[in-house]
């Protein structure tokens, strides 16, 4: 275990003797199934659950020779922006005392930032890889939807989430992406990336000469002043290396965070219906009928944020409200996609601060869920548009708090964002 509570389970899983990740430790977020090693999703509901099979990404890590040092702490079922909603206690930011590590893959980013694992896997539904990467001063990649198999990932919001790497450098993250990316017969949403030369790691050559960067002004409005200053300093750095930037207008992103939460909560209300305490998970007992037992299991097994989202999702999908919330959110999603496609016609990548604020103090956002949801304004549009994005360290505030810079690319444009990001980290 770690002083900052980064691991839920520190059981070691050995991989093959040889391979590109031999002698490398890769921590795995605890919503990714590991055969024979408990996988809790940060929830009391699954505190004793032991999967009978490996997720595809875990199988690929083992085949590549990686050693998995443990399962990392996370917001319960991936629902949170601070890694404070875990049933196994909050994680502290190892590089910013008294602050949150970001969420929901906070444990994965923390163990990498602290040097307790070489690399880690997280999952990103609305920014859950990029946010903790930014708050902990490391690199995180959210891949294009369909590039990485979700087989064995305990689902929260299927249409939005992807597994991706967290690492100290862009090149390290790209090497891990090389291992986990590619079609999987167990996940029909995966597809072969279009032909491209070389590995993702080879794209981390730091060459940004001639790179055209679009900056969506909407994603700077309302951000913390020190975050914005750090962002522009990093862009100046890229400009000095031969890149150019221009401002772009993305009016749809003003509604993205609301659309994201409506869609994610709706999918969550459906996905989490599988936790009935009969096949796995906390039992609701056998007194009364199935409905009573089910409701009882879920009262005891789920934490407050999970209940909040399941209920709001049920509300958004219920008769009379479907058109008002869910259908409108799908319209917003289509609009965001169009906006991004148009902006990426005139730019190679789009750049913004990853998070509009530096890492929050622990406990600060828990009492006000809406404030926490709004902190995801810069990351959620990318998931709605199914695009790839990377968060790289951009610098620090005057108080030494990490600030992340997000680069968004076109679908399957991982090499572009890796190349651009590698000029900074």
């Amino acid at each position: 275990m770690t002083a900052y509570n980064g691991y839920v389970t520190d059981e070691t899983i050995e991989g093959a003797e040889d391979g590109p990740l031999a002698d490398t430790t890769v921590a795995v977020k605890d919503n990714i199934s590991t055969e024979g090693v408990r996988t809790t999703c940060g929830s009391a509901m699954l505190s004793d659950y032991v999967p009978p099979y490996d997720a595809t990404v875990v199988q690929r890590l083992k085949d590549a020779g990686a050693t998995i040092p443990g399962k990392t702490n996370m917001d319960e079922f991936g629902m949170g922006t601070t890694t404070e909603t875990s049933a196994f206690g909050p994680v502290e930011n190892p590089v910013a005392e008294g602050r949150v590590p970001g969420g929901s893959s906070g444990g994965s980013a923390a163990v990498v930032a602290a040097g307790d694992a070489d690399l880690a896997l997280g999952s990103d539904t609305g920014g859950s890889i990029r946010c903790p990467a930014a708050f902990c001063g490391v690199v995180g990649i959210k891949p294009t939807y369909g590039l990485v198999s979700r087989y064995g990932l305990v689902a929260y919001a299927n249409s939005l989430e992807q597994i991706g790497p967290i690492a100290p450098t862009v090149e390290d993250a790209a090497e891990l992406l090389d291992v986990i990316a590619g079609p999987d017969e167990h996940d029909a949403t995966t597809q072969e990336a279009p032909e491209a030369d070389g590995s993702y790691a080879a794209a981390a050559d730091g060459d940004v000469d001639g790179l055209s960067i679009g900056v969506p002004t909407e994603l700077l409005d309302g951000a913390d002043q020190e975050v914005v200053e750090t962002f522009w300093t990093a862009l100046d750095d890229l400009e000095a290396q031969g890149a150019s930037y221009h401002e772009v207008d993305l009016p749809s992103v003003e509604h993205a965070v609301e659309a994201y939460y409506v869609i994610a909560m709706s999918e969550a209300s459906s996905n989490l219906a599988r936790f009935d305490g009969v096949r796995y998970g906390q039992s609701g007992g056998y007194d009364g009928n199935w409905n009573d037992s089910f409701a009882n299991a879920r009262e005891e097994g789920f934490g407050e944020e999970v209940k909040r989202r399941v209920l709001l999702g049920t509300y958004a999908l219920s008769a009379g409200y479907h058109d008002k919330y869910y259908k409108k959110a799908q319209d917003a999603r289509a609009w965001v996609k169009q906006d991004f496609d148009e902006a990426l016609d005139d730019a190679d990548v789009l750049a913004s601060p990853t998070m509009p604020v530096p890492p929050m103090k622990r406990g600060e956002s828990l009492d006000d869920p809406l404030t926490m949801y709004l902190a995801d304004a810069n990351t959620t549009p990318v998931n709605l548009a199914n695009l790839p994005a990377i968060s790289v360290p951009a610098g620090e505030t005057d108080d030494g708090l990490p600030v992340g810079l997000q680069l968004v690319g076109p679908a399957f444009g991982e090499r572009e964002i890796i190349r651009a990001g590698s000029a900074l980290a």
Partner: protein
């Protein structure tokens, strides 16, 4: 706002639909928070109707018997089983 604020009865009703028991203090908290959150979601009213991409296609595989979990593995996380099957409470 066009809709009245969420009331405790509505929260209880949704919790019932979602099959989640709630403590009284949770109902009180959720009632207040849901009002704020649903108000924020009203921003979606400004979203123009947008044509959605229709380039989706089904991905099918042949319907063939394949290797699967053994019955023993499939049952290993169940709190109660009987004669190789899951045992649960009565349905109604």
């Amino acid at each position: 706002m066009s809709d009245p604020a969420v009331d405790p009865e509505e929260v209880r009703h949704v919790a019932d639909l979602a099959r989640v028991d709630l403590a009284d203090d949770e109902i009180e908290r959720f009632t207040e928070q849901f009002g704020d959150i649903l108000d924020a979601f009203e921003a979606l009213d400004d979203v123009p109707e947008t044509e959605r991409e229709a380039d989706l296609s089904n991905v099918m595989r042949p319907d063939e018997i394949r290797e699967s979990l053994s019955q023993e593995d499939a049952l290993q996380n169940a709190s109660d089983t009987e004669e190789g099957q899951f045992k649960g409470p009565k349905v109604s």
